[in-house]
């Protein structure tokens, strides 16, 4: 039998019991629409989260922390990042640059009053934290001493405007009591004052307390505070953290492995994203499973309809066999009919899913105009194709047993059937 005849014939069969076909198809359409809608929702959510993670920072960055690997929260085992460690880190493959950081004890900018509590971060020029977020002035440069890049809120405490803070000489008091929010905490070590010049102001969105100062200034202040020398501080306390930049974000995993082999814990956005992807894979699977249950119910509907239609058409099957239909022809006829249910249901379902997503999205935005601007439902061509294919496959599977039953029917007993 030719394919064209097969499909024409089974289309005729599909259209014969119209109400029943429509209802069965509707079942498939609803199941497919649910699958599309739920997966689109999961994809949209994942896209949103990924977008916001991307906006946080550079995917090429790996931060080395002064802990052993596997550190989480309370169980962190400290490890010292000495200059030898830094040298080893530099030798890891795909490492483009390494930036050391040393955090001096908490302090205040005296001119800013009580609220000007600061966390002095000693960093190297062009460190990833000190890039592209200036409101005024400049970033730290090579050879700078006794200068600081401060957040906008601190700048406004010491000067009428952000711009006029540039060039001001202020007193940075390291150690001593500070106020953090509404609580007052006693200082560590001996408080000491340092005169510094504000050279830049950064957007305080990143941090309202971090003050960026040259690495050597921070080391000196940390040493003073504890009555040591910078060299002994480097050996005993070590650096607070190391920022490593990979040559490419795809090599971040290699660097993370290298850092772990050296016995240090690390953090990278790239890995966060991979974890997010994994998590969303599970989320998407669960949602798809829910949609799949709807499709399963539809499949049972198809199987039921097909069984009825095989029974009703017993005599017809007998006649067809008697005049030359092969068992395969008969099976193909019923499978094609099931495929029509799947295909029509799939098309309608995909359309329904897309339209439903748009309607729901509009309703949500009307109810809450401040909803995240990214699309809530994301339907790509792969989802459309996959959902359609799924509907057809589910229908074929559901139609398989009834079709086989029709195929195996004896022609003679089918002819005698009334």
């Amino acid at each position: 039998m030719r394919w064209a005849d097969l499909f024409a014939m089974s289309l005729g069969n599909y259209g014969r019991a119209r109400l029943r076909s429509v209802l069965t198809t509707a079942g498939v359409a609803i199941g497919t629409a649910l699958v599309v809608l739920l997966i689109a929702l999961a994809t949209g959510a994942e896209d949103n989260v990924r977008r916001s993670v991307f906006s946080i920072g550079d995917l090429r960055l790996v931060t080395v922390q002064p802990f052993q690997p596997g550190a989480n929260g309370l169980s962190a085992v400290p490890r010292t990042i000495t200059d030898e460690v830094v040298a080893q880190l530099r030798r890891i493959g795909h490492v483009e640059s390494v930036f050391r950081q040393f955090d001096a004890p908490l302090g205040t900018i005296v001119e800013g009053g009580d609220d000007a509590t600061i966390r002095p971060q000693g960093i190297e020029p062009n460190a990833p934290v000190d890039r592209g977020d200036l409101l005024a002035g400049r970033h730290l440069a090579l050879g700078d001493r006794a200068v600081a890049v401060v957040p906008g809120n601190i700048a406004r405490l010491i000067a009428p405007s952000v711009a006029s803070a540039i060039g001001r000489r202020v007193t940075m008091r390291i150690g001593g009591a500070v106020k953090l929010g509404s609580t007052r905490i006693g200082g560590s070590g001996t408080p000491r004052d340092y005169g510094i010049t504000v050279i830049g102001v950064f957007d305080e969105q990143a941090s309202g307390t971090s003050v960026r100062i040259p690495l050597d200034d921070a080391l000196a202040a940390g040493a003073d505070n504890r009555g040591l020398t910078p060299d002994t501080i480097k050996q005993s306390t070590g650096y607070s953290g190391i920022a490593i930049e990979a040559d490419d974000s795809t090599n971040v995993a290699d660097i993370v492995r290298g850092v772990q082999e050296l016995g240090f814990s690390s953090f990278s956005l790239k890995q966060v994203i991979e974890q997010i992807d994994q998590g969303f894979g599970v989320f998407r699977g669960i949602l798809a499973g829910i949609g799949g249950v709807a499709l399963l119910v539809a499949a049972i509907g198809i199987a039921n309809t097909m069984v009825m239609s095989v029974l009703e058409r017993t005599r017809e099957i007998g006649i067809m066999k008697a005049v030359g239909a092969s068992p395969r022809d008969i099976r193909a006829l019923f499978l094609a009919e099931a495929a029509y249910v799947g295909a029509f249901g799939g098309i309608v379902g995909v359309a329904l899913g897309i339209a439903g997503g748009q309607v729901i999205e509009r309703i949500i935005r009307n109810l809450n105009p401040r909803t995240n601007p990214g699309p809530i439902f994301v339907v790509g061509p792969d989802l459309i194709l996959a959902a359609f294919a799924l509907a057809v496959v589910v229908a074929l599977v559901a139609g398989f047993l009834p079709a086989r039953r029709a195929m195996r029917m004896s022609a003679l007993s089918a002819l005698r059937y009334e």
């Binding site: 014969r16 017809e316 007998g318 008697a322 005049v323 030359g324 395969r328 002819l415």
Partner: protein, 224 residues
Amino acid sequence: MGVPAVEMQGLERVYRSGRSTVAALAGVTMAVERGEFVAVMGPSGSGKSTLLNIIAGLERPSAGVLRVDGEDLAALDEAALARHRARRVGMVFQAFNLLPRYRVVENVALPLAFAGVEPAARHAKARALLERLGMAARAEHRTNELSGGELQRAAVARALVADPAILLADEPTGNLDSASGATLIGIFEELNAHGQTVLLVTHDAQIAAHAGRIVRMRDGRIAE
């Protein structure tokens, strides 16, 4: 004479239901030569339909040899048997067995559809046959708009559409009034006059009288 249209040797068909067995055919040996018009007569239950169904490839014999147009049916698998039904034999039933959903011309062309012939060619062939059987005006009708005689003529056209080696008819006049029955048997005679081999089952002596040869059956055997 060449290869007979149908050749049977010791053909048997045994039905088993529980402990009892019925031998519908208990060793039939006969041949239908090409161009013959043979009528099979015999009382009800004598195995006439079983014989025809086996020749048509609708069921398989329990024992014996059966060749149709020289081909041994025992060697055919289900798919080949389906081709045999589509192309080598044409069967006319007492109950017409047309598909009510399709037009007459589609019904007639159906065996060719299963044989893989494309629509234009098979419908042309079907129309030509309907015309020959005086049914041209009915070609586009649905079967529920036809009289019994017309239905059976359409069924004959369907049986002939693939130019079968033999036309099989199982009590084709059984559901017809006598006038329609006479018309139908006239058609069979006419077809046979043009060389069509016909094997007809009937219990009506008047119908059988039109055949060139009459074979009588009793209890699954040829009764001489």
